[in-house]
């Protein structure tokens, strides 16, 4: 088991190197730091001195891969590739283009993101499983048919409509909760209710339909027929046998996104003005702060790989048939 984990972590390294190379090529080879500086400083009135100053301030004035002017190890280390890309491997994110410490900002902003994402996930999971079980219990009836139709209709609505509609209905017409904003401590709760609620409602269509398929697939198996043949009530078949076995695909699907919860949701956070990592990323994209985008790409990949490893581990925990070797 331990050896397996070590091996999986090692497998992750070439992937991270690949991610790093992709971002490096995108950010420094396709466009030179000069282009970035010109873009940041405004296209029209920009002097060569201004560009040089901008580059020196942010450490973009070094050669890309090989520094022929230094000697020793510095030939390789005193370069943009080493400073900006290799250092990401030890989670040294450096400073953003506006001069702030990225690692500190991430540490600060991950909490509001988690405060939305975790309740959203838990409440959502409970709600979707309940609905899917209900629909699966009445399979073949009109409730099932119309339930699925309703799911498809809900799935077809843009996620932004849920947010805007929810803000208008709950926040503006009913005045139940503030439309957007954030606060520290327990005061944050009143700001969190609406985003979590909308997040859960927005996912109902797709998730319920997906879980229903899982339940139905499980219900077609032999052991369910055996249980019914022995005269078990349909409800206890559903809860004791089907639910337990269907939890395997459901849980493993959830585990893979667990680490990514840190990253927050871009759209939700920016609509509700919540200072999480999602709105941090969106701001960076809109301000064209390349250092932050680079850091977030790397962080996202690390978390994704972590999610894959956790998924494999969770299989062994919930499914005794699987042994890792």
């Amino acid at each position: 088991m331990f050896a397996y984990i070590i091996r999986r972590v090692l497998y992750g390294i070439p992937i991270l190197i690949g991610v790093n190379l992709i971002t490096f090529v995108l950010f420094f080879v396709v466009n030179s730091p000069d282009d970035m500086a010109r873009m940041q400083l405004g296209m029209k009135h920009v002097t060569q001195e201004g560009i040089e100053k901008w580059k020196v301030e942010r450490g973009y004035d070094k050669p890309l891969l090989v520094n022929t002017q230094s000697d020793g190890v510095a030939v390789l280390t005193d370069t943009i590739f080493y400073e900006k890309s290799v250092k990401l491997f030890v989670f040294d994110f450096g400073r953003s283009d506006s001069g702030r410490d990225i690692a500190y900002d991430i540490g600060q902003r991950m909490w509001p993101s988690l405060a939305i994402a975790v309740p959203n996930l838990i409440i959502g999971l409970l709600a979707y499983i309940t609905f899917a079980l209900l629909v699966a219990f009445f399979r073949g009836t009109y409730l099932d048919v119309w339930g699925v139709v309703l799911c498809v209709v809900l799935m077809s609505v843009s996620g932004m409509f849920y947010i805007i509609g929810g803000q208008y209905l709950v926040g503006k017409l009913l005045h139940l909760v503030p439309v957007s904003g954030y606060d520290v401590g327990y005061d944050a709760i009143k700001f969190l209710i609406l985003p979590v609620l909308i997040g859960v409602v927005g996912g109902i269509g797709g998730s319920t339909r997906w879980y229903r398929t899982i339940f139905l697939e499980e219900m077609g198996k032999d052991y369910v027929r055996t249980a019914r043949a022995k005269g078990m009530a349909e409800l206890s078949v559903l809860f004791k046998h089907v639910l337990k076995n269907a939890m395997i695909p459901i849980l493993t699907g959830v585990v893979v996104v667990l680490p990514l919860l840190f990253m927050g949701s871009l759209i939700t956070e920016s609509f509700f003005g919540i200072p999480g990592l999602g709105s941090y990323t969106i701001d960076a994209i809109q301000r064209q702060d390349f250092a932050i985008v680079r850091a977030m790409v790397f962080l996202g990949s690390v978390l994704y790989i972590l999610g894959l490893i956790l998924t494999d581990l969770s299989y062994t925990l919930v499914d005794p048939r699987i042994r890792l070797s």
Binding site: I15, I22, L26, M39, V152, L266, V297, S301
Partner: protein
């Protein structure tokens, strides 16, 4: 003089349409390809949604035929200059709506502007009133008195005209079907009304009726009012929503198609050849997959923006730049979304290579590339088909989100995402400006819902596991 212009995406759209028509002609001859499509044609939901999708496709195609108008220039030494504007056929049909611009917001069917304005009255005094619109309800003598009767009267006559047109179309179609099946007209009509025909004609006719009535109604009222209001600069929202159809369709289709050859080839090769090819392909898609999609798109689009901004000489007009950006967005979206299909095809190819008929082919000494193209490719096409159709709706919705983030299509391009983005800030106004948002959401919703239902029908027909 008019000169047709072929933008990059136009060319790809026409290639796509030709391919679809050619493959349809090919599939007609092969029984095993006809069978699943016959099942789609016989499903009621499939055909009803197909009609709705066809309406969108027609709007998109009309909007993909661009041209440039010659500018009136005398004494230029015989040199011909063209206007910088690149309108499409859709623009041509909608010229009255496109060219009458109001000053600012106005509500749907309004005859007066949304905000007050200071005007000089006849007697020299100044007053703050809601000014009349230039286009919306301009034909009314006294809007307060006539507006309601005018809207109702025009709607009623439009619906009547629509129904009349529909009746004619339906009767002609029924006569044609009856002739083809060599039945009498009355018999065929009775079969269709009772819903006993093989193909769900009744459902199709009802959908067609709704579509025709809606189109006639929009055309009639649209020529007198802004049926979905106007936006901040006074442009008709209905026109914007129609123009956005093309953007949505292009993102939904081209994205999957630009990367399709790579996904199919790499997936099958990894699954069939195994060994180092498999390792390389797996590494490739795991790496691409591990970058959060929206961040990779954002990074690539940011870089493209820098590139476009620093190389203005490469783009001769705004339409071409916006078009290239759209194409590039499709490419980026394609790069982030081909991995799922590739992984599925790899799994399927791994399963197929153990099949008896492949082993037989190997034993007969068939070459590897022949086995792949002849024996494996046709047997994974249903997966490709299902994945194209399933991806479509997700991509249409993704466009809106990306435009909101600021890494979507060009801000000057018409798209539902840009409409939502522009209108979102006006939510706080009193009274609220809701029409732009609602128009974009409804147009998107209808398209995505139709695509979702249609893709379900296609999946049911093509997925061998679901076939009874």
């Amino acid at each position: 003089m008019i000169k047709p212009i072929l933008l990059w995406t136009d060319a790809l759209v026409f290639i796509l349409v030709t391919t679809i028509i050619l493959s349809a002609l090919y599939a007609r001859k092969k029984e095993h390809l006809r069978a699943p499509w016959r099942q789609v044609i016989r499903s009621r939901i499939g055909m009803a949604t197909m009609i709705v999708l066809m309406v969108y496709v027609c709007i998109g195609l009309l909007d993909s035929m661009h041209y440039q108008r010659e500018i009136n220039n005398n004494g230029n030494g015989g040199e011909i200059h063209y206007s910088a504007e690149v309108p499409s056929l859709l623009d041509y049909f909608m010229t009255p709506i496109r060219e009458t611009e109001e000053k600012t917001y106005s509500a749907p069917f309004a005859s007066h502007a949304y905000s007050r304005e200071t005007v000089q009255l006849d007697n020299g005094e100044q007053a703050r009133i809601y000014p009349r619109l230039k286009h919306g309800g301009a034909h009314l003598a006294d809007p307060e008195r006539d507006w309601f009767t005018d809207v109702i009267g025009k709607s009623a006559s439009a619906i009547m005209q629509g129904l009349l047109l529909w009746t004619v179309v339906v009767l002609l179609l029924v006569a044609w079907i009856a002739a083809r099946q060599s039945r009498s007209f009355a018999e065929m009509l009775q079969m269709i009304i009772k819903g006993r025909s093989d193909i769900p004609w009744r459902t199709m006719f009802v959908t067609l009726g709704l579509v025709i009535v809606l189109v006639v109604w929009c055309a009639t009222l649209g020529s007198k009012y802004h049926i979905l209001g106007t936006d901040k600069v006074g442009q008709d929202v209905f026109y914007q929503a129609l123009k956005s159809v093309r953007t949505g369709l292009i993102i939904g289709t081209l994205t999957t198609l630009v990367m399709l050859p790579f996904a199919v080839m790499l997936g099958i090769m990894a699954g069939y050849l195994r060994g180092w090819v498999d390792d390389v392909v797996q590494y490739l898609y795991t790496t691409l997959n591990s970058i959060p999609g929206v961040l990779l798109i954002a990074a690539a689009v940011l870089m493209m923006q820098v590139y476009i901004a620093t190389h203005p000489e490469l783009f001769n007009n705004n339409a071409a730049a916006a078009d290239l950006r759209l194409l590039f967005l499709c490419l980026i979206l394609g790069i982030t979304s081909w991995t799922g299909l590739c992984r599925m095809l790899r799994g399927e190819a791994m399963k197929l290579r153990e099949m008896d008929y492949i082993e037989a082919a190997v034993a007969f000494g068939v070459k590897k590339n022949k086995i792949i193209t002849r024996h494996i490719l046709p047997n994974v096409m249903h997966i490709v088909m299902i994945s194209i159709v399933l991806d479509f709706s997700g991509l249409v919705l993704a466009e809106a989100v990306l435009s909101y983030v600021g890494v979507g299509v060009d801000p000057t391009m018409y798209s539902w995402g840009n409409m939502i983005n522009g209108a979102r800030l006006e939510m706080a106004r009193e009274p609220m400006v809701w029409w732009s948002l609602l128009a974009a959401f409804i147009f998107m919703f209808v398209l995505v819902l139709a695509a979702n239902l249609f893709s379900d029908a296609v999946r049911d027909a093509f997925d061998p596991r679901l076939r009874k």
